[in-house]
């Protein structure tokens, strides 16, 4: 699988994503500079975490205008897999590829810690190797992860099973206390209506090796690999 990792000025989890795909999972990785306008040849694209443009003004607000975002939109429209992690999620929201917006964490602080998230929908290209209801331990690191959307959109997200991850307790209970940032409905990750664009605040790339705590984050990347292989097989036939 050939994964593109977009590098915005201020991205800082780009190398981490590259490391997981290349060194841990043995895939091909292409680093995509934000000024590029084509994503031809890639099987999936990752918008990594970090502070694109310093997160000045609003998180993701300036990055969404990078030339590469036009290409990302086309790529997504053509059914390509797009994963936005943390700042990447924020950029997808600002770009309108996913619905909603991010507010400041309820505590107003940056928070870096382990969280548990429940896989609400395992029938997606990003979660296919998980079981529905499975609890993953994945760390967060952000100051603006307090997801918000209007009630109508929220109802739509729920009705279409677009909420993919919710913050929960270690044993899978979705409680207000388990939500680290005040996010609406404990939302930690959502997908678009078509199902090929996922945004999530937790950082799966930070927990894909036992030495770093857990391997839970691998599930997401492995699902992407499985999905892309299936697609290729289907294409050959």
């Amino acid at each position: 699988m050939n994964i593109g990792v977009v590098v915005f000025p201020g991205s800082n989890c780009d190398h981490d994503c590259e490391h997981v795909f290349k060194d841990v999972l043995g895939q091909d990785v292409t680093m995509v500079w934000h000024r590029e306008t084509s994503l031809a040849g890639l099987d999936a694209v990752i918008l990594p975490g970090g502070f694109s443009y310093g997160d000045y003004l609003r998180t993701g607000a300036i990055a969404r205008f990078s030339p590469v975002m036009q290409a990302v939109k086309q790529f997504a429209a053509g059914g390509g897999l797009v994963l936005g992690i943390c700042n990447g999620f924020q950029i997808l929201l600002e770009a309108g590829l996913l619905p909603g917006a991010m507010l400041r964490n309820k505590s107003l602080h940056f928070i870096c810690r382990e969280t548990y998230v429940k896989v609400e929908n395992a029938a997606t290209p990003f979660t296919s190797v998980c079981k529905s209801g499975q609890v993953l331990k994945i760390p967060i690191a952000h100051a603006d992860g307090n997801y918000y959307t209007d009630p109508v959109t929220l109802a739509g997200l729920q009705a279409n099973a677009q909420v993919i991850f919710r913050y929960c307790t270690a044993d899978g209970k979705v409680t207000p206390e388990a939500c680290p940032n005040g996010s609406l409905d404990n939302i930690a990750g959502i997908r678009n209506a078509e199902g090929n664009v996922l945004g999530m605040m937790p950082h799966p790339e930070r927990c894909a090796e036992t030495m770093l705590g857990t391997e839970d984050g691998r599930a997401i990347f492995q699902s992407m690999i499985v999905s892309s292989e299936r697609k290729k097989l289907a294409g050959v036939r």
Binding site: R58, E94, L103, R104, K106, T149
Partner: protein
């Protein structure tokens, strides 16, 4: 021409920063303050002498970049 732009959270959207400030004011003894809301204020110079053209430009800037209209509203003055 100078543009002065205010971007604030829409009514009804929780403003954690405003809440925190209200709390802090309270603990500093300012018991009279309530409904604190925090927003952004931006100033910029426009090389544009035609007011109606300037207006269009500033509106576009706000819609496109300066405000996120899902959660924020904006207003501006030109002078």
């Amino acid at each position: 021409m100078k543009a002065k732009i205010h971007v604030t959270l829409k009514q009804g959207i929780l403003d954690p920063q405003g809440k925190a400030i209200e709390h802090a004011l309270d603990s500093l003894g300012f018991k009279n303050a309530a409904n604190v809301r925090v927003g952004k204020y931006m100033e910029l110079d426009l090389q544009q002498t035609d007011k109606s053209k300037a207006e269009i430009e500033v509106k576009q800037m706000c819609e496109k970049l300066l405000a996120n209209t899902i959660i924020e509203e904006y207003r501006y003055e030109l002078s």
